[in-house]
């Protein structure tokens, strides 16, 4: 049986090494393009609320109304909140006694009242603990 011919093996090896080097460079460059892990910063806003959360297994969730352009960002904020609060369930619904409010911009005055919700506590930086009086 013949050994791999040096010419072919050499060719494959050089190309593979070039690919490996390129991949490494791509990863280093990706550091500039992509933001740092946004989860810690997002979830740090909830530290105080997490400590003050009432007893319960499932909480509601509300954020500002958003158009289709902000859909992905809003989805990220909801998923990140759900991840940060696990093992408590955070359901994207107002049909719960307690709700977590997650806002990028401050909601207009009377916004929650219009939705029939009461602010239990404003933690600042767009984070609220809300109550739905319907479930009182």
């Amino acid at each position: 049986m013949s050994l791999p011919r040096p010419k072919a093996a050499f060719l494959v090896t050089v190309c593979s090494l070039a690919c490996a080097g390129f991949s490494l460079l791509w990863t280093i460059r990706a550091f500039r393009w992509n933001p740092v892990d946004p989860l810690p910063e997002h979830n740090a806003r909830f530290a105080e609320l997490r400590a003050a959360l009432p007893q319960g297994q499932v909480f509601g969730y509300i954020d500002e109304p958003h158009g289709s352009a902000e859909k992905e960002a809003a989805k990220f904020r909801y998923y990140a909140t759900a991840y940060g609060f696990a093992p408590v369930f955070i359901e994207r619904s107002v049909e719960h006694r307690y709700l977590i409010g997650n806002f990028v911009t401050s909601p207009s005055p009377g916004y929650f009242e219009k939705l029939g919700l009461r602010v239990q506590r404003d933690f600042g930086r767009g984070v609220f603990l809300l109550e739905n009086p319907k479930f009182h």
Binding site: P4, C15, A82
Partner: protein, 449 residues
């Protein structure tokens, strides 16, 4: 420290399971590198099964150790009467520059992995909003079948528990959630995805071909990028390659090694317990076994029975689990427009162009095509007998992708988005098996494979 010890136990228990299925004499055997390469995913599978049965008891780790000890005893008993492994193919050692090239490529890969983990320690979206989120719920002992999971449909709560379960057990033993657990586990899984095809090729084609295969594998940037994203696809890829390799090894023996057929079945069951795509893989590899194995037709049916019997424990657990979990709304939506979708020519075109674009984009796919030509034309003497090892791997990959293409056809999501967001990972799932198939081509064999 206890979690690190448990990780070592995953490997030891996995090695015992593989040796119980595929016995060899007690001393170190020629095929033991392959067994060792399979040990981590097999150990994880055993741990996740034990965790599932014991859940939420804290005794799961102790039961896992006991189960591992019993299986090790079975492996020892089976070793007494086991025939020795056939020795690896006799080849002169590869040149040192080939070895050093592989070491260099591996070092670049490890650097990439560490850089990505350093930057995104919680992994990419699917890692924290599917796999590690589920592991967090399991770690905290939340009811495994809690109906509230239905509200987390975006997190696919029906996904099987091999990965999340084995991570949760690590955290349980650690006493708290630690990010380093998934980092280390996924790094070892990345090494497994490399080691499985490489050890099989070392056995069947020699060390030089194994090193070339390793180099080709490492050219695919998604392999390390997705491993460092802490997704389950690299784990699935290594199990896919392992099951395919076990069947290829079985097919290369004369007579067919029934132990390897059963091991392939067990690994295929593991694939179903890893990802939903694994259920398709069970059907695919059963069909490949019936079609491609070198046995008379009656014996093929019998082999398929043994294969499925070995997969059965995982399939039974999966059936039990799925029965209690909410059905993915995408499945219901897909069945609603099934007929209109399969009659839409535009969807076929979208799938085809998606595959073609990804085949060009998938880093490394161009290089291996070139490598195949180089291997075929320039490398050794091509011989048709070399193709005997090919059908298992190539058929499995081809049919699996036909299945994926069918799913794209009927997807209720925007087809372009669905293909764009998942096809790289689906190609990656079969990548080690593709490289295994490529490198089995050619070269006159001294052995009858």
């Amino acid at each position: 420290m206890a979690a690190l010890f448990l990780l070592i136990l995953y490997c030891l228990a996995g090695f015992a399971v593989v040796r119980a299925f595929w016995p060899a004499p007690m001393r170190w055997s020629p095929a033991d590198p392959i067994r060792l390469a399979l040990s981590l995913p097999v150990g994880m599978a055993l741990a996740s099964l034990v965790f599932y049965f014991c859940y939420p008891s804290v005794m799961a780790a102790a039961v896992f150790v006991a189960a591992g000890a019993i299986i090790a005893a079975i492996a020892v008993i089976r070793a007494r009467n086991a025939a020795p492994d056939r020795p690896a193919i006799s080849m002169p050692p590869p040149s040192s520059w080939l070895r050093w090239s592989f070491v260099l490529a591996l070092a670049a890969t490890i650097c990439m992995y560490l850089l990505i983990i350093y930057r995104w320690p919680r992994g990419d979206w699917d890692a924290w909003c599917i796999w590690n989120l589920r592991a967090t719920f399991l770690f905290h002992g939340r009811d495994i079948f809690d109906p509230t999971y239905a509200n987390y449909f975006w997190s696919h709560p029906d996904y099987p528990l091999l990965l999340s379960g084995s991570i949760a057990l690590l955290w349980k033993v650690n006493g708290e959630i630690a990010l380093w657990g998934p980092w280390l586990l996924h790094f070892l899984i990345l090494l497994t995805a490399l080691a499985v095809p490489m050890t099989v090729l070392r056995q069947l084609r020699g060390e030089a071909v194994a090193l070339i295969a390793g180099l080709i594998l490492l050219t695919a940037r998604p392999l390390v990028a997705i491993a460092a994203s802490l997704y389950s696809d690299v784990l699935f890829a290594s199990i896919f390659a392992a099951a395919t390799a076990a069947l290829t090894l079985a097919n290369s023996d004369d007579p067919i090694d029934a132990n390897l057929v059963r091991l392939a079945g067990f690994l295929t069951g593991m694939a179903a317990w890893t990802k939903n795509e694994g259920l398709l893989f069970v059907c695919v590899l059963t069909a490949v076994l019936v079609v491609a194995i070198r046995l008379p037709i009656r014996k093929r049916i019998s082999a398929a029975f043994h294969f499925l019997a070995a997969a059965a424990p995982f399939l039974a657990v999966l059936a039990h689990y799925k029965r209690h979990m909410p059905v993915d709304p995408e499945i219901a939506a897909a069945s609603g427009h099934f007929f209109s979708a399969i009659l839409d020519a535009g969807r076929y075109k979208a799938v085809l162009t998606g595959y073609l674009a990804e085949a060009i984009r998938f880093p490394g796919i161009v290089l291996p095509s070139f490598a195949v030509l180089a291997l075929w034309r320039l490398w050794g003497d091509f011989h048709w007998r070399g193709l005997r090892g090919l059908p298992i791997a190539s058929l499995a990959v081809a049919i699996q992708h036909a299945g994926y293409a069918a799913v794209y056809l009927i997807t209720p999501n925007d087809i372009a988005w669905h293909i764009g967001s998942s096809l790289t990972r689906l190609l990656l799932q079969t990548w080690p098996a593709i490289v295994l198939g490529i490198c089995l081509i050619g070269n006159k064999q001294q052995r009858s494979d």
